[in-house]
Symmetry: C2
Subunit: 300 residues, 2 copies
């Protein structure tokens, strides 16, 4: 029987975030010169103090399978770079037009739309360099990592989810379409995190263990989104560090279009329990299990 | 002594473009479904009938070195996907705010800014899938290709060039800064085309032949830009398929800020001759040599 330890979850997030942040600082050192505003804009959003959930999932998956941190770290940086790019572009006036992110003004509010667009483009592009040039894995492994990351982030993954999200601003979505939206917009990258962790530990994408962890990630990714939708109506701007109530203001379809807050929370708890149960007999799974429970219990 | 044959250059461009277009049609087939507008927008710009100069340079480099088309084609598709993304984002209202590209309304004019931004993001991301999953090369080669492409397109390559371009809208650039701009904005991807062609033929990035072809590509890339600047003042919208005179309207620094049209053209011719001379004793270089002369002589 699993006992949730919130402090352990927080410690896991913190220690993995420290490793990733130190590495990201090396990838994007402060720069002078004529294009310095680009690097400043990239650093502004990349090092804005996110929870690094995707990196933690990746590093903990690798660790559970006996892999080395050094092999997983470049992939963890890459996934956070792609995630950050997606936030910058999502916040643009032509998309969600958000002013606040992680408690700070959004990238385009500080640097303007042109530089924000380019900073996003840069982080996305550079992420593939970081994957491809991972010095601690074989060329086959690096190429597989790029395929996983670009597949998850690309036109049939995260971007497809974002397009459905835009469509949902002017159309009612069915529950199936809402799930397709989130499988793309957040689920694909959360699954990729688990897969990259497995890959760094030497487990191929079609290995049974990789498939098990992908299914685990798919569930906690959906939980993540359900909780997001709940917090959007129950939290405050200050607690969340971004503008709340924006979903209902823009008439977006969310899980709360189909469920009450209580029902949605019950659904999230059931999914989390399923995810946790699926790892129950795997040695060293405490980290991932605590992360899963944390995502369900989080208040921001 | 080299005799330029314009018809041969046109045939090379046409036959390589046909190969690449057929492959791109397979990568982006027409799709139905809730996100179909994304794929439509991607196809709109990707299959808009560009000259495919980068793909031709890549495929001809590979061919000259005895490599196989099948190994080079995925890389050629990837480079054209990245190039197309850069055009879509460049044309956005927050960047150059252009209405016309390749004789057609720009992507955002047809699909709106949000979808245009995402179509660009999608093409960029998917390009790395296409490279990483090239079935005709080793994992080491695929990973090296991703590193070359992302390095050329990323924050220290093409995007840096674009940032300097934006800076140049409100500041006078020195000649050195203008060259840095173009080395990034167009030169990096043209060099990458040659390097990827070499790589597909089995020549490593640090091989003497790759370095020779990179230097060749750097020269013809600069010529390409000089001719662009000349055509922007001497051509018409109809001939060029995009809005001309936009550089001088926006007070951008161009080569014509430092040279007369005649001087700039002389400079382009000298660079082209240097590039051609550097391949003079290489067997099978006719294709590349004719391409180089074509870029210097082009009227649109």
């Amino acid at each position: 029987m699993f006992n949730y330890n919130e402090q352990l979850a927080l410690d896991i997030l913190r220690s993995n975030a420290e490793k990733v942040n130190a590495e990201l600082e090396k990838i994007y050192p402060e720069k002078n010169g004529i294009a310095s505003v680009l690097y400043e804009a990239e650093r502004y959003s990349l090092l804005a103090g996110g929870k690094r959930i995707r990196a933690a999932l990746l590093l903990e998956s690798c660790k559970m399978l006996g892999g080395q941190d050094c092999a997983a770290l470049p992939f963890a940086c890459a996934i956070e770079m792609v995630h950050t790019y997606s936030l910058i572009h999502d916040d643009l006036p032509c998309m969600d037009n958000d002013d606040l992110r992680r408690g700070k003004p959004t990238n385009h509010k500080v640097y303007g739309e042109a530089i924000a667009t380019l900073a996003g483009d840069g982080l996305l592009t550079d992420a593939f360099s970081v994957c491809a040039m991972n010095p601690h894995v074989t060329g086959d492994c690096a190429a597989a990592a790029v395929a996983i990351l670009s597949g998850a982030a690309g036109s049939y993954g995260m971007i497809k989810g974002q397009v459905i999200d835009l469509y949902g601003e002017t159309h009612d979505l069915s529950e199936a379409e809402l799930i397709e939206l989130h499988m793309g917009k957040t689920g694909a990258m959360i699954c990729a995190s688990a897969q990259l962790g497995c890959l760094a530990a030497g487990f191929a994408p079609n290995h049974e263990m990789t498939e098990k962890l992908t299914s685990f990630a798919q569930k906690i990714g959906l939980v993540f989104q359900i909780i997001d939708d709940i917090l959007d109506v129950t939290s405050t701007n200050e607690e969340l560090g971004k503008n709340i109530g924006s979903d209902s203001e823009s008439n977006k379809t969310t899980f709360l279009s189909f469920f009450t807050v209580e029902q949605a929370y019950e659904y999230a708890k059931r999914l989390t329990q399923d995810a946790i149960d699926s790892l129950d007999n795997i040695e060293g799974a405490e980290g991932l299990i605590n992360l899963a429970q944390f995502l369900c219990d989080r208040k921001k």
